[in-house]
């Protein structure tokens, strides 16, 4: 604390203040003394440390000089190393130059030898050696030749090129000679030399030309159709022979070129293909004439029967051509296999292009066109004939329309699939769907729209007043035929769906892409429309059957709710309806499918129950009458339970209504509605009110 502060703090004018200031000063003095003695006590150790530090400094200086020396050494070593590696590089260069020099000297010597050798070889007809020389020349480093020229030597390439050209000319001439003489061995031997002299393409062209002539001869022989009037597939056989000859030619070209010049199949194909095209076209023209094919088969007046072999022949012909194309595609793949990916694709595409643009493809399309036109005609005529045979006639009780039509449809679809064409199969599927829908299902619909009187017998509640009419055979036959047609409609729907999945499975193998598969699926789905048409016809018949039962059902409903108890013949009274229904069911089961019988019974019982319940509310009952109604209802429900499971549910509500009617006292109503109440409380009360002996207030008081 400074003096001025001390003076400010304490009043020094008084003794007391002075004393306090003095005390303060004394206290500080002693503190300072303490601090000073502390510092002095550390001075010793500090001195020691300073000494140690100065010693260390001198050592560091020594280290620094040592390090400097080491750094200089490293520098020098690096310089030396750099020098050494530069020397090594120089040495390397020199060595490679020597090697190059040696190669060039060899090349130059060879060059002289080659051009002389080629000429000598040509003279000696030793083309293999000649080609070997050319091959050697072609593999030479171009630098050698350039170097030779730079040194002022006459350009050795001129001589060599001249020699190579002469060799090529000789080879071509020899090849053509051999080809003319059909000297297979020479052709093969000479062909192998072309890739060696760098002329693989020319070689392939020459070979293809040779093979084309051979193929053409073979095709000319194959084209001859001996017996054009024969029903056998003579034209399909001829086309098969032609494409086989073509295929053999292409395969020979591929095999010959496989080792020396892969990826050139398209060049060979381009030369060979025209022969195949013209051969098949010629046969096709003859085929059109001989089989009297026209764009509209109605004009040619072919009968469906005689159209069949022609259709088979056309489908076969088309499939043969398709097989040939598949063969070409596969061979192109094999041929291009050793190449790089992009080259491979180019080769395969080139072959695909030839296939798409060749005349054979157009012929195939023409054949397919004729096939489809004739197939449509055949289908139409056959379906029409089946319809004519199935048209209802007096006395006829059976129909095989659906069997016939689906037999035809199946045959036609199989044939279309056998042609190998997706478009053909699709078109035929379309035609089949349309014929099934319009022809067969349409006819069934027309026939089923007009049901005969009472197609299925349901005896009435009262014994007929007059003895029954003698059975009219024709009317009976008509009824049976109607039911037969109904069955056919049902079978038709199932068949159409089955045919669709069959067709999809059979044609799936033809599709080469997803788009083609989708197309097939879509066309096969068209058969679904036909199935819907058959189903609609069946439903029409089912509702006609139900409608025919209507008058008897109304009568039976009245009988069910009859308040008169008929006590003397109680059992018979209760069993009358189940017996009548049993008769109906038996008759129905004999003629229509179980599924249809069930549907019919459900409809009949539903109507019966609804009508009986409605009629119930128009009558009044005593206990006896109620019991009779209840008995009848129970028997009906029991019959439904055993004979028409699906219809049982329909009776449940009415059974409860009848049970209510037979109660001893209204208070038992709750038990009658067990296990599940089918009637609402007001409805149940209304039925209870039908009983003459129940008191209105009892009913009103009921809690349901």
């Amino acid at each position: 604390m400074s003096l001025s502060l001390l003076l400010e703090k304490y009043d020094v004018s008084t003794d007391e203040g002075l004393q306090k200031a003095l005390n303060e000063i004394e206290k500080e003095e002693s503190e300072v003394d303490e601090a000073l003695s502390g510092v002095l006590s550390r001075a010793c150790s500090l001195e020691g440390r300073l000494r140690a530090a100065s010693q260390a400094y001198t050592k560091l200086t020594e280290v620094k000089t040592d390090a400097q020396i080491a750094a200089d050494m490293v520098d020098k070593t690096a310089g030396l190393a750099r020098d050494v590696s530069a020397k090594v590089r120089q040495l390397d260069l020199a060595r490679s130059r020597v090697a190059e020099c040696q190669r060039r000297v060899h090349d130059l010597i060879d060059l002289q030898l080659c051009s002389a050798g080629v000429e000598a070889a040509i003279k000696a007809h030793d083309y293999e050696t000649g080609a070997g020389h050319v091959s050697r020349f072609l593999s030479m480093d171009p630098g050698s030749v350039a170097a030779a020229r730079a040194r002022g030597a006459p350009d050795p390439r001129d001589a060599m090129t001249r020699a190579a050209n002469t060799l090529r000319e000789h080879l071509v001439r020899k090849f053509e000679e051999a080809a003319r003489k059909e000297d297979e061995a020479s052709v093969e031997r000479l062909f192998k030399l072309f890739p060696q002299i760098g002329r693989a393409e020319e070689g392939v062209d020459l070979l293809a030309k040779y093979l084309a002539t051979q193929t053409e001869t073979a095709i000319r022989r194959a084209c001859v159709v001996s017996d054009v009037t024969s029903e056998a597939a003579v034209f399909a056989d001829a086309v098969t022979r032609v494409v086989e000859a073509g295929g053999a030619g292409v395969e020979r070209a591929r095999q010959a070129a496989a080792t020396h010049a892969p990826g050139l199949l398209h060049r060979a194909l381009r030369v060979i293909q025209p022969a195949v095209c013209s051969g098949v076209r010629r046969i096709f023209t003859e085929l059109v004439l001989a089989r009297r094919l026209e764009s509209d088969p109605h004009r040619s007046g072919i009968s469906p029967l005689s159209a069949e072999p022609i259709l088979a022949e056309l489908a076969l012909t088309h499939s043969r051509i398709w097989l040939y194309f598949t063969f070409l595609r596969r061979k192109a793949e094999v041929d291009a296999a050793p190449l790089k990916e992009d080259q491979k694709k180019a080769c395969v595409d080139a072959v695909e292009k030839i296939i798409n643009e060749c005349d054979l493809m157009r012929t195939a399309q023409d054949i397919l066109g004729h096939y489809l036109a004739l197939e449509r005609y055949f289908l139409e005529e056959s379906v029409n004939k089946a319809l004519k045979l199935a048209t209802p006639q007096v006395g006829v009780t059976t129909s095989s329309l659906v069997d016939d039509v689906f037999f035809i449809a199946r045959k036609v679809i199989r044939r279309a699939v056998s042609s190998g064409s997706v478009d053909g199969a699709c078109a035929v599927l379309n035609e089949v769907s349309s014929q099934l829908e319009r022809g067969a299902a349409g006819a069934l619909r027309r026939w089923l729209r007009a049901p005969p009187h009472e197609p299925l017998p349901l005896p009435g509640p009262r014994a007929p007043r007059y003895p029954p009419d003698p059975v009219d055979k024709d009317v009976e036959a008509q009824k049976i035929l109607y039911l037969a047609h109904m069955n056919e409609a049902e079978a038709g729907a199932d068949w159409a769906e089955r045919l669709a999945s069959e067709a999809c499975a059979a044609a799936a193998a033809l599709a080469r892409s997803a788009a083609e598969r989708d197309k097939l699926t879509s066309c096969a789905a068209g058969l679904g429309t036909a199935a819907a048409a058959f189903r609609a016809a069946h439903d029409l018949a089912l509702s006609a059957l139900a409608a025919a039962l209507h008058p008897k059902i109304v009568a039976w409903a009245q009988r069910l709710v009859d308040p008169a108890p008929h006590t003397d013949e109680m059992e018979d009274d209760a069993d009358a309806l189940p017996q009548a229904l049993e008769q109906l069911t038996e008759a129905a089961r004999a003629h229509i499918s179980a599924r249809a019988v069930d549907a019919l019974l459900v409809a009949a019982l539903a109507e019966l129950a609804a009508r009986a319940e409605a009629a119930l509310t128009h009558n009044r009952y005593d206990r006896e009458g109620g019991l009779a109604v209840e008995r009848r209802a129970r028997r009906l429900a029991a019959w439904a339970g055993s004979s028409a499971g699906a219809a049982r549910e329909r009776c449940a509500r009415y059974t409860q209504a009848a049970a209510l009617l037979a109660l001893e006292h209204p208070s038992h109503a709750r038990d009658a509605l067990l296990p599940t109440p089918r009637l609402a409380a007001p409805e149940a009360k209304e039925i209870l009110a039908r009983r003459t002996d129940f008191k209105m207030e009892d009913i009103k008081r009921l809690k349901l």
């Binding site: 399309q365 004729h370 997706v422 478009d423 197309k519 789905a525 819907a532």
Partner: protein
């Protein structure tokens, strides 16, 4: 199953080279392929569009115009809900062939099919058939009429959208399908097209 309420089949017909494939590709893929080769047989493409918030699947069948594919293409007429008959406005012969095409349609197609006449290639300078001639022809034969350019994407979207709208209206008017409707082509609910009274809409 795919989510769509209606499925309609639309078939394009007309002479070779009038631009049927280009119209289809412009609509389905939004591109104009220059140097499009001739169609072989029949191609088909699918596009789902939305009309009044409902998904409508258009199955578009693109047929080959060349004569030799006629027996393939004819088989597609009957199941078509709409037929687009295309000609090239810069090529008189393609227009002159229209009556032949109509005869084919009469013979093979459902008589209730929706028919649209389309004059394509309006981008061409060398027009040979004036618009009103095409319009007259369409009116006389109870067809819709539209001029389009697949290259400039003109009216292409509109063509197919109007078909979708019209077919949907017809389907809704006659909601009761031809049969019970539980079965139709390609798993979808198809509704048969009612007897659309065709009138000119330009």
């Amino acid at each position: 199953m795919e989510d769509y309420k209606f499925l309609f089949k639309v078939v394009l017909v007309g002479n070779a080279g009038v631009g049927k494939t280009c119209l289809v590709r412009r609509f389905t893929q939004g591109l104009f392929p220059p140097g499009q080769g001739a169609t072989i047989g029949v191609d088909f493409m699918i596009k789902t569009v939305e009309v009044d918030g409902e998904k409508v699947k258009l199955q578009i069948w693109d047929t080959a115009g060349q004569e030799r594919f006629r027996s393939i293409t004819q088989s597609y007429y009957r199941s078509a809900h709409a037929l687009i008959l295309v000609y090239d406005i810069s090529c008189q012969p393609t227009f002159d062939c229209l009556p032949d095409w109509l005869r084919e349609i009469e013979e093979y197609a459902n008589n209730k099919v929706l028919r649209i006449l389309v004059g394509n290639k309006t981008d061409r300078e060398d027009r040979e058939i004036p618009r009103h001639i095409g319009e007259d022809f369409a009116q006389r034969h109870g067809m819709y009429f539209l001029e389009t350019s697949a290259k400039e994407a003109e009216n292409v979207e509109r063509l197919f959208m109007e078909i979708a709208v019209e077919l949907m209206e017809q389907a809704k008017c006659k909601e009761l399908p031809k049969y019970d409707g539980s079965l139709g082509p390609i798993n979808g609910k198809t509704t048969s097209v009612g007897d659309g009274s065709c009138c000119l809409r330009s």
